[in-house]
Symmetry: C2
Subunit: 233 residues, 2 copies
């Protein structure tokens, strides 16, 4: 009997935005796995810390921050091998993912490596997009409106074309791309409709009109933009 | 001291996909509010049913199913007035929303009516988009991929143009628009990359390749489509 691999979304940051199902799985886990980026503390582990049993085995995947894909692939290959070992020994493994596992989540890399050989259950989580919208007091989409999610690292021309053709927009992974994104939104005359959100739902959260955003942004920051519906809907 | 209005996402359907924060708020609520559509049972109330205190007051907003906006506006006006009465009396009100309150959620209509006068807290929930992706085993977006969310009622030409220009696509509110959406995806040669999901996370859930989807779809159904990344990411 091999174990089950659970890909568990732990939500945007506040520990109480974890779902009941995820909390139950994490509390009961004898093996938890998670990535750490560039040697930093694991964000996903931090969110779930109070739920992890003290004697749980922890499989840590140290993923280098790099625009090259190969180094990350090596880290996920190694992590997948360790997880497979636990599954082969009949132990379930709970893999922690910030936000949602299938929405820009690192779990996709493990899913691609293990789902053909093992039973995998994905537990969806609250994504940072709706968490940011909640904190910004900014409804994202109603009725027949469209929502476009764009990663900040996209080239300037593509960002501009995509934002121009969209209704509501969420721009993820802003980080060092903030100046470029600001310039695009400014050029489109949409700055007054844009909000900057950093570390939504955490104590150090920042929510500001884009015009007042700081000069440097962390990786976990987002810009939301809506072209505006009737406020009475 | 007026009360606080909480707009609480209860997730896609399974009661244990409610967040810890939402569960705590619902359990402690002396007033809960929710919409019912076209006289049917309230989906949001059904998801949270086991958490609602037996003596809680329930404010029910009966929203007619109609392409006209005016009848729904009348229902939300009336609901907002009743909620305002409770808030004025110093009572907190917990408004239940399926999925996430600001993502095609009915709570937006109450937020538009009440947020200028009362303290409103929005508690984000797991959206049906990531719940469907989890059940379909279909990662939505990785790295620099874009995700486009489209409502099924959009006109055929617009759907076609938007799907053609997108990478990953989630089409919401499929319902009676299924034949039109299928025709568009077929014409674009993308049927083999599309999955149909109905009532994700509920016991009556259906997950099928689009080619095998039923002829008629309920309102809470979705089509997911990804144009495919390297499976090893």
């Amino acid at each position: 009997m091999t174990g089950v691999l659970y890909g568990v979304g732990v939500g945007p940051g506040a520990p109480d935005l974890i779902t009941l199902r995820a909390a139950r799985l994490i509390e009961g886990a004898s093996v938890v796995a998670y990535p750490t980026l560039a040697g930093a503390e694991s964000f996903a582990r931090g969110i779930a810390a109070d739920l992890i049993a003290p004697d749980a085995e922890e499989i840590v995947m140290a993923v280098p921050m790099s625009v090259e894909r190969a180094p990350a692939q090596v880290a996920y290959d190694a992590g997948a091998a360790r997880i497979a070992e636990a599954l082969d020994a009949g132990r379930d493994v709970v893999c922690l993912c910030e936000g949602d596992p299938f929405f820009y989540g690192s779990f996709m890399y493990l899913f691609a490596r293990l789902s053909d050989r093992y039973r995998v259950e994905v537990v969806p989580g609250v994504s940072s997009v709706t968490a940011c919208a909640a904190r910004a007091g900014m409804p994202l989409a109603a009725r027949n409106e469209r929502l476009t999610v764009l990663p900040g690292p996209l080239p300037e021309g593509e960002l501009r074309a995509r934002i121009d053709g969209a209704e509501s927009v969420a721009i993820m992974k802003v980080g060092r791309h903030l100046p470029k994104i600001r310039a695009v939104i400014d050029a489109l005359g949409l700055t007054e409709r844009a909000v900057y959100v950093e570390r939504a739902s955490l104590p150090e959260e920042v929510v500001l009109p884009l015009a007042k955003a700081p000069q440097t942004a962390p990786y976990f920051s987002m810009i939301l933009l809506t072209k505006g519906a009737d406020p009475w809907l």
